[in-house]
Amino acid sequence: MSGTIQVYLLVRQIYLIFKVMGKSVFKLSTISSKVIMGIAGLFLMLFLCVHLAINLLMLLGDEGQMFGKAVYFMTHNPAIKIFEYVLFTGFIIHITIGVLIWLRNYFVRPIKYAVTPRSKTSCFSRYMIHTGIIILIFLILHFTHFFFVKLGWVTGPEGIDTHDFLSMSKLLFTNPVYSSIYIVCFIFLGFHLNHALQSVFQTLGLNHPRYTPFIKVLSALYGIIIAVGFSIIPIYFLFFHTV
């Protein structure tokens, strides 16, 4: 039954956040809304690291013992459960403000240039909304495969316990179609992150001739690590793992 309560709480949470944000985002200055989006994004980036670390435990070759322990911890620790709400809030804030900012910006230039702009720009920064939407679609897919299954909202594959993420993952990743989609999405996520990390520093006003070049490299590295790190798992299950 706890699943239903969770769904209820989740929906209510989303509703409340939208209600508050709908009122205030338009009142926020462009800088403030960017800062909030950036901080939410930074938080999501942190979460991605944890998620990646846990996922990589699947590759330990210990029949999923460590992975199982980690999953158990993540699904049963009360602190983590509270954190889950924070995480969702982070997602919703990041996505909503992102879309609203994009809408505002899109309509500031009603007549577009006839010639494609040739100005030099920071890599991938022009495509944050596009990569963001791809990631959002993936997120929905991802939720239907794992998170909603755990909640009991979606029926999982037959014969697998709703909390047995390892088996669910193995099943999905041995499917080449799903794995390909998964890898492509993470490449886009990598692009998104490449700009995201350095951008959040800039938005928070942290730009310094000595350190900014380092932050840019770090940002690119982070994007690559997340993209490669997550992609290793389906590749492993597809090509190197025999059940």
Partner: protein, 248 residues
């Protein structure tokens, strides 16, 4: 040189505009870009057609009057160069040059290639100054200013208010323009005094006028004819957050 031109023509702010094509022979590579435009206009008038309206004044890259979005870039293809400083030798013989006005809802077209950039003035009216009445100034050397800060303030004050940053930005954001002014004043002890009020008022006005927000794309920096860097925008963000969160 022979040049093909594709130029945006629009009778007035209400009219619907469209591109017109022209060809120009005997263009000399030594000509300034705007002299080529003069040459075109001279030809158009002789043919009984209306000349192309475009804005220009000092023709030496300092007044900020000239604008023009040339072949996909504000102020054309050369870095750190205004349209009036462009020379025809930077273009190829036979090349098609597309000339558009700066595009932004905040910079509406007045005629042909002339746009209304008065929004920049409005932002500065909101706070782009130091409140010092005539006669109230102390002896100029009574407040020493760190050379490093003073030089940086100068780099920021080099902005000519041409609007290339807005034109280049995919969001039509005026952040670089605002940042340059805010940074110039906050770096100087004279301007530091009212830094909090200034940044709040200028950003509020910028948002009210409907400029887009910054998405750290940095096209502004690439196109700024005076080489103002996006470090200024970071400084602006910092000043703004300080004003909103910390300052009383």
């Amino acid at each position: 040189m022979n040049i093909k031109l594709k130029i945006w023509r629009q009778k007035n702010s209400q009219a619907k505009g469209k591109f017109e094509k022209y060809t120009l022979d005997n263009v000399s590579p030594e000509m300034a870009f705007l002299e080529m435009m003069d040459f075109l206009n001279q030809k158009l008038i002789e043919e009984g057609k209306e000349p192309v309206a475009f804005e220009h004044d000092c023709r030496e890259g300092i007044c900020g009057c000239c604008s023009l979005y040339i072949n996909g870039q504000p102020h054309g293809p050369r870095e750190r160069t205004t349209t009036c400083e462009l020379r025809m030798r930077f273009f190829k013989d036979g090349e098609t040059i597309t000339i558009e006005p700066f595009r932004s809802r905040v910079f509406p077209v007045i005629k042909d290639l002339i746009v209304d950039r008065s929004a920049f003035d409005k932002i500065l009216i909101a706070g782009g100054f130091i409140s010092a009445d005539t006669g109230s100034a102390p002896e100029a050397n009574s407040i020493p200013v760190c050379k490093h800060h003073s030089d940086k303030a100068f780099d920021m004050a080099a902005c000519i208010g041409c609007g290339a940053c807005v034109a280049a930005c995919k969001n039509s954001s005026a952040m670089l323009f605002v940042a340059a002014k805010v940074t110039q004043f906050t770096l100087l002890p004279q301007g530091r005094v009212e830094a909090v009020e200034r940044v709040k008022n200028m950003i509020a006005k910028m948002d009210e006028l409907g400029f887009g927000s910054c998405s750290n794309t940095y096209a502004c920096e690439a196109e700024c004819p005076k080489g103002i860097t996006v470090a200024a925008i970071a400084k602006l963000n910092r000043e703004f957050l300080h004003a909103k969160i910390v300052a009383e």
